[in-house]
């Protein structure tokens, strides 16, 4: 993904215009995506900045007619993964199962519907905490599938994994999220 940097590769006006336009049209979406992935403003700012530098360097590898947003989300995702690896030790790849706050109470029928009961002000805080408690991989798949509304195929391309992995990760992430939402809304 990282464009090879030639020793002498002077910028062209098209390259500069490409970046200007990319920032103007997709800067906000990219920043919000980064914010949701990282759940941290400083990280989201760094990630967004770095992603657009990559866009600038690799602008010729962008395929016209394909989705620019998917392209930059893939860049953001890869940068974030690299960053997590770099910081390994501070983050876990997955939350261990026994670390779940509490059991949800088995399968259906669902007597309690915690999400429905949340009023808007509560929702923000509860959802924020719940998302924060997910592993980065789980948060990523939830953001892509439910907030950005990408298909499993598109998510697999962005994340760089199989569709089967997307599916199973999303299933687990949503179960985990429901537990966490119940946990944090019950804690009030």
């Amino acid at each position: 993904m990282a464009a090879p940097r030639k020793p002498f590769d002077p910028p062209t006006p098209e390259q500069v215009a490409f970046l200007e336009r990319a920032i103007e049209e997709h800067g906000k979406a990219t920043y919000n995506f980064a914010l949701r992935l990282t759940h941290n403003e400083a990280d989201a700012r760094d990630l967004t900045q770095e992603a657009f530098i990559r866009v600038y360097r690799a602008w010729r590898s962008f395929q016209p007619g394909t989705s620019f947003v998917s392209w930059i989300y893939r860049i953001v995702t890869n940068l974030y993964r690299d960053e997590l690896r770099r910081r390994k030790g501070r983050y876990q790849e997955e939350i261990p199962e026994d670390n779940a706050p509490q059991q949800y109470g088995g399968e259906r029928p669902l007597a309690v519907e915690p999400i429905e009961e949340l009023v808007e002000a509560q929702l923000g805080e509860t959802m924020s905490k719940a998302l924060d408690a997910l592993s980065p991989d789980q948060r990523q798949v939830i953001v892509l599938a439910d907030i950005e509304e990408y298909s499993y195929q598109e998510i697999a391309e962005i994340v760089g994994c199989s569709i089967g992995t997307v599916r199973s990760r999303l299933h687990r992430a949503r179960q985990q999220l429901r537990k966490l939402v119940e946990h944090f809304s019950a804690a009030k």
Partner: protein, 176 residues
């Protein structure tokens, strides 16, 4: 499948439109007749709705500081390795021809000006730098000297490869 309840996994795939058409239709039919599964589906759907509601309420503007830092870095690391490189980059036929014409005029007037008033001099290299900087900053703004076809697929340089992406439309069409 019609006789059995729908699994959570199936519900999630169904919710995301990821089932094959046949399976999709079967589940739809089951949900119409089974209260327990319909309830479970509603609960799953609410998770997605809550996530989108949260996303909307927590949406932020891109901080201007981020934009500034991007351009600062490009100015520092990418755009101007040296004035020589910048001028060389700028000094290409498509742009250079009209500019050279202006330059000749500029030098001519500068020259004649120095003859009249020796203090006022317009240095040609200053002009070049200034113009290169402007061109680099607002490459497609109107009124600037742009070779015809630029902004479509025509590269501004004669050496640029033919895979140069079409800017027009490619980003605009991407309204996701």
């Amino acid at each position: 499948m019609n006789q059995q309840h729908v699994t959570t996994e199936q519900l999630i795939d169904y919710l995301h439109g990821e089932l094959a058409p046949g399976d999709d239709a079967e589940i739809l039919q089951h949900l119409e007749h089974c209260g327990a599964c319909a309830l479970a589906y509603d609960e799953q759907a609410r998770v997605s709705e809550a996530l989108r509601a949260y996303a909307r309420m927590s949406e932020r503007e891109l901080p201007q500081g981020v934009v500034n830092r991007i351009w600062d870095r490009i100015d520092r690391e990418e755009r101007s390795p040296s004035w020589g490189a910048r001028i060389a980059a700028f000094w290409r036929p498509a742009i250079a021809v009209p500019v050279a014409a202006l330059l000749v005029i500029g030098i001519f007037f500068g020259y004649s000006a120095t003859h009249r008033t020796p203090i006022t001099t317009i240095d040609a290299s200053y002009y070049l730098q200034d113009h290169a900087a402007i061109t680099g900053t607002v490459p497609f703004s109107e009124g600037i000297i742009v070779p015809s076809g630029m902004g479509s697929n025509a590269p501004a340089t004669t050496t640029a490869d033919a895979t140069s992406p079409k800017l027009s439309g490619s980003l605009v069409a991407d309204a996701r």
